[in-house]
């Protein structure tokens, strides 16, 4: 059950997206996420949503994995969608279930609710595509390079990156460990699934105490192992694989620039797709 979490996992492959320079991928993902919040109408949002789907097709990540990742955020999506319907009373009233209460489902509410749902889904698609197609080591290497200007402020970027690598590296290990400890305590009759919230929180004590104790033990062991291999944490280490931007990265940048320009432009012209949709409803 706990092993089914696919967000943040890496799926090896050799698609165009896999081959992109990780720095380029991080920047592009970031730009797209910002662009998602610049969208003012369904044209620009639709464009970005379409691009996220197209990128997934190009990456050859199986649809089942993507859907599994989205399953994790269903609650969040439904919750925000419902809130939008509840609090937006623009447009025409479509349904007024309680005459006494000042509440109605309006066309404006539905339009903004669908809008925000597509926005969240695209957001998740873009960001999970980054982790699905980039190995954790590549990711932290790229972050280290992107953060290197911070060296000017005497921040030790390489130890930051090392910490990040280690943290990412240990997520699957810890998940596996939680699984083992939970199994062991369940085997001794621990009930982790039923009961009130307080009871369930208390039932987790036998899982978290060993987890924390083991994490400290692991941290010590890892620190020793790193010292044995002469790790000092200074900035003078060189890389075995130098990252270099290639033609495909510049192509991707150009594509993103055009898209973002389109998104901003449609915002200025205010095509007001809202009204088009309103007529449909």
């Amino acid at each position: 059950m706990i092993k089914d979490i696919t967000i943040g996992q890496f799926f090896p492959g050799d698609s165009y997206i896999h081959k992109l320079d990780p720095r380029a991928k991080i920047i592009i993902t970031f730009v797209f996420i910002v662009a998602l919040f610049l969208c003012k109408n369904y044209f620009s949002l639709g464009l970005l949503f379409f691009i996220s789907i197209a990128a997934i097709v190009v990456s050859k990540i199986s649809l089942r994995v993507i859907l599994k990742g989205l399953k994790m955020i269903v609650v969040l999506v439904v919750f925000t969608g419902v809130l939008q319907i509840l609090y937006n009373d623009e447009g025409t009233v479509l349904w007024k279930p309680f005459q006494q209460l000042d509440f109605a489902v309006t066309s404006g509410g539905i339009i903004s609710s669908v809008f925000i749902i597509i926005r969240i889904v695209s957001l998740i698609l873009f960001s999970s595509l980054l982790t699905y197609t980039t190995s954790p080591t590549m990711l932290t290497d790229a972050i280290e390079r992107l953060l290197s200007p911070l060296k000017l402020f005497k921040i030790n970027v390489s130890s930051l990156a090392m910490m990040m690598t280690i943290a990412l590296r240990f997520i699957p290990t810890l998940i596996e460990e939680i699984d083992i400890i939970m199994s062991a305590q369940k085997a001794r009759g621990a009930d982790l699934e039923t009961g009130t919230l307080v009871q369930r929180a208390k039932a987790l004590v036998p899982v978290f105490i060993p987890l924390i104790v083991n994490s400290f033990r692991r941290a010590y062991e890892l620190a020793f192992a790193m010292e044995c291999r002469c790790y000092t944490g200074d900035n003078k280490r060189t890389r075995m694989k130098e990252m270099k931007l290639a033609l495909r990265d510049y192509l991707a940048f150009a594509f993103v620039a055009v898209t973002v320009a389109a998104v901003i432009a449609t915002g200025f012209f205010d095509i007001s797709s809202f009204f088009i949709f309103e007529r449909v409803i």
């Binding site: 089942r64 994995v65 199994s183 062991a184 001794r188 009759g189 036998p206």
Partner: protein, 287 residues
Amino acid sequence: MVILEVKNVSYGYSHGTPFEIAALRDVSFSVEKGELVGIIGHTGSGKSTLIKMLNSLLKPESGQVLLNGKDINTDKASIKEARSKVGLCFQYPEYQLFEETCAKDIAFGPKNMGLSEDEVRQRVLRAAEFVGFNKELLNRSPFDLSGGQKRRCAIAGVMAMFPEILVLDEPVAGLDPAGRRELMSMIENYRKATGATVMIVSHSMDDIARIADRILVMNKGSLAESGTVKEIFSKTDKLIEMGLSVPAATSLINKLRLKLPELDADVYTTEDAARILAAFYKRRKEQ
């Protein structure tokens, strides 16, 4: 009397990802009450998945696990019953200790079974006795103990439930030779005293040969062989093919038999080997 029956059980991990594995394929066997069953197999052969099936920590995708003739996956009550009747002790159980004192940690299982305080206390004391823990050790924090003591404390935690079937995954892994011997005899004592059925997963062919009544051999998710110590360890080539081996004593006698074919072939423990070689030496001297 058959106490546990595994019928055509199959199970797979990570469906729909590139890492999909079939962990168990159509595994069937049964265990008699009071038997000591050894489970051997290469790393990744499905042993650990198999034992998780025995108390419903994992549910078979197809097939059934019957405890005393009843399917353990029928409903919540049957699962709860299986959890208390099949005591599972995982590899390196010392990493699952969590309480302030050993006594409290050992009491965790019996408490979850809903027993009275008095009964829990008695069970803790009895289980502690099996693993050689005195009052002083019982009141110490489990985190202050030595590695071997932690291991025994954790195993006592499972023993205190007094399960009908005690399942141990590599109970002696990582212990020194004295610790291994000690722990093995503790398990044997527990079995003698309670009449419980015991299943042990181990990579030590010597340990398995010495104590098991019957051996299950797992290979690539299937049950490759099942039989007595003699039946299993006489098939040296087959075991080596599966990444396993025979006990050191068997291997020694097999090599000697190439030169001395008159030696008895059925040797599986060091004690047997010593006895046979002594007898052989005596015969030689008399001639």
